[in-house]
Point group: C2
Chain length 456, copies 2
């Protein structure tokens, strides 16, 4: 295929590769990502936005089916299971992120492939292969759409639809043409705008919900012969033409078969928007290094890339815990006063702690040319702190905690998973330990149909 048709080259690769082509460390990392995703989905239990989507699934979907909704262990059709699980996994802001594409792949890929794999009785190896296809496609498409796209569009909503479609199309065993058709139907459904940030609205979960479900729908339709635009990405009236001004077609085929972008994905250590993490790491390091107490801090400047300003800038006075996760000042306040900005810190202190609120007003963001130039490949954290006794201190973190070069170990991932499961009793400790063991042995699972531990 000529490079004038990079979408097709991508589809040829997605159709061709098998799990034996994937380096073992990438397969292992995919299992890490899957565990991290399950735990994130369980932690979404009882969130109001998720309850509304559960009720929608009951009102509009079948009352039984092959696919499980993790937060309530109901079974329904794959479309609704994907919908609710995707929303649930994106609500506590602990799900993974890929730096270069600024995509949250887990929240859109795994709900779609798990729901479809349960319905089709696919194996653990098939699920892993399909998930890798989703990550490889989604990450490259996100990079292709560029930074201009992310300024207005929530890439996980838009590009996530295609990532989910690619994953399920691979699970179904579609050929390159079939995957291409699935991407066509997915791309023409791709949506998601950042405007909700200003209102602390529930759209972020709606975006992952619809991306996963509509991606699954696109693959389902493609398998049945329903067609879509083949050049949905690069065509004259395709996604890039409509929603990007700096699209780079070369990214779509970057290192196919040699670069495994799945393994570049970062885990979240803090329970907040990833754009807050580099500065949070830097502030934490600075306070430890200088043995600084929070009351000694007069002001903090977080030096950031433009993407952080686009996404965090609209959040001035957070009114919900979810919105507080997009407030740089709140995150730094939690780190300063409570040492961490995890699930528990947000619950207890994210909105109601006057010291955190006062700290928030001491924080400003400033666009930094070097950091902005390195982004999105590298997410550098740098803070300047003015102390109450007149000193100016600075710290910098080049690789924030959770990035591939500073990743979470399996014990750390297991601890995080147990914590997320316990957060709203999404699963008991025994259930979560069973899930952990099953994920580590996933490639040997014959069928995903009844893979989850039976509901208590």
């Amino acid at each position: 295929m000529p490079s004038s048709y990079p979408t097709r080259e991508l589809c040829e690769f997605l159709a061709r590769f098998t799990l034996s082509d994937v380096p073992p460390h990438v397969v292992e990392r995919t299992k890490d990502l899957f565990l991290d995703w399950i735990a994130s989905a369980l932690a979404g239990k009882d969130a109001p936005a998720i309850r509304r989507l559960q009720e929608f699934a009951v009102a509009m979907g079948p009352q039984q089916g092959p696919s499980e909704v993790l937060v309530d262990r109901r079974r329904t059709s794959p479309w609704f299971a994907a919908l609710v699980n995707a929303a649930a996994s994106h609500v506590v802001e602990q799900d993974d992120v890929h730096n270069g594409s600024v995509l949250h792949p887990a929240a859109v890929v795994f709900p779609a492939v798990l729901a479809a794999a349960q319905a089709e009785g696919k194996s653990g190896a098939q699920l892993l292969t399909a998930a890798i296809a989703g990550y490889e496609a989604g990450i490259r498409i996100g990079e292709f759409m560029g930074r201009s796209h992310y300024r207005v569009f929530h890439t996980t909503g838009t590009v996530g639809t295609l990532a989910a479609a690619a994953a399920v199309a691979k699970l179904y065993g579609l050929d390159a043409e079939g995957i291409n058709q699935a991407l066509g139907s997915a791309g023409t459904q791709a949506a998601g705008l950042w405007e909700f940030l200003r209102d602390a609205a529930d759209s972020k979960q709606l975006h992952t919900a619809k991306a996963a479900a509509d991606g699954l729908m696109s693959a389902h339709l493609a398998r049945a012969g329903f067609t879509g635009a083949r050049r949905i990405l690069e065509g004259a009236q395709g996604m890039a033409a409509g929603m990007s001004s700096d699209a780079d077609p070369a990214r779509l085929t970057d290192g196919l078969g040699t670069r495994w972008a799945t393994a570049e994905t970062s885990f979240k250590f803090f329970a907040s928007c990833r754009h807050t993490h580099p500065a949070a790491d830097a502030l934490k390091a600075l306070m430890q290094r200088e043995r600084l107490d929070p009351e000694q801090i007069a002001s903090v400047t977080a030096h950031v890339h433009q993407g952080a300003i686009d996404v965090l800038g609209p959040v001035v006075d957070p009114v919900t815990i979810h919105q507080a996760k997009f407030s740089m000042g709140t995150v730094l306040g939690l780190v300063a006063w409570h040492g961490h900005a995890g699930l528990g810190e947000f619950e207890q202190h994210g909105l109601r702690d006057a010291r955190v609120a006062a700290f928030r007003d001491k924080v400003t963001m400033a666009l930094d040319a070097e950091i902005n130039a390195a982004y999105p490949r590298q997410w550098i954290g740098r803070v300047t702190v003015a102390t109450t006794d007149g000193r100016t201190l600075e710290a910098r973190v080049d690789v924030p905690k959770g990035d591939p070069d500073n990743t979470l170990s399996r014990p750390e991932l297991e601890a995080k998973a147990l914590q997320l499961a316990a957060f709203r009793q999404g699963a008991s400790e025994a259930e979560m330990r069973t899930i952990i063991a099953r994920v580590w042995a996933l490639e040997h699972t014959e069928s995903m149909a009844d893979w989850l531990p039976a509901a208590a």
Copy 2:
């Protein structure tokens, strides 16, 4: 509310007006539009793309419910009924269009309100009021998004999601805040790209399907308290920011309560893309005036607006009947050789008639400055014909057949409805005559729950 927040002004109006505020001729016209829509939906029966969506509804949706799928008379939940009915009503290209917004309101508004009204046992008057809310909102939002949007985006897919959401939110009796929330969730799901035209792909029906179903979903979620961005249209990271370069906020509130845009909607006389109709009318008039036979025509230049070139230009060599409906040459060839480009002409001669295919190659489109300046307010048709004996003839039609100033009479609408019902035996003549009588009495219907004639 200040004009800096026109979306809210629009929502206030939508929440406030009652059917008694609507001029009687607008109510009557809405009934015309509803009948025209039902007939269009029935004509979608057996189309392959519609069958795939029916199968999807069976695979993913409940096997029973309050809302009917018109083409197979199955009952399911409102989401799936809206999905299939919306797709079905847009496949034979006989559904209505509003000139100024270049929106097909019926195909997105009626499937959503009918499915929801059946589920909620709403009255005929409530359905009409809700449909008018959908038309008034959708048309203004389409005009707001402007011509730049339509160049890449299929407005009926994008804006259609908000039109359907407004309609169902009105049906539910939501207040201005609730309608605003519904629009927020709808706008962040709004999608639909023209790229499918090049491949004769099935996306056009997917667009109306998803717009109607997702709009319904947005209203359903808003009623339950699920929130969306309030300034989804005009906000800094809203729809206009992402998908338009000539958005005009004044259009959102244009003549609220005095201008009833619903009644500006045009009916389709030809069974093809509306952009072909003005030229088809002009060619028909020219051939009648000059008593010209098709073999006397050496070439035709159709003078058009830019929108016609954007949408029809990609279709060079149509391979499906649906794609032929977007081929200016095919439409003019049918008019020239068969006197009409209706459903039957497309079926019998749209692809397989060598004379029509030969005529197609004699047709070119040319951008016309005056026509382009009048568009989209006015859709002027002008053709220049070169005859085989060396003459140059010209004809112009300022108001194409079906526009409000040249509309279809009730007898013409009834005849069209009977023809569409008979096309694939979507309904028997007796059933369709019952439907016609019920539509004309719609405002007196107490409940839409079992409004359709019982399945044969």
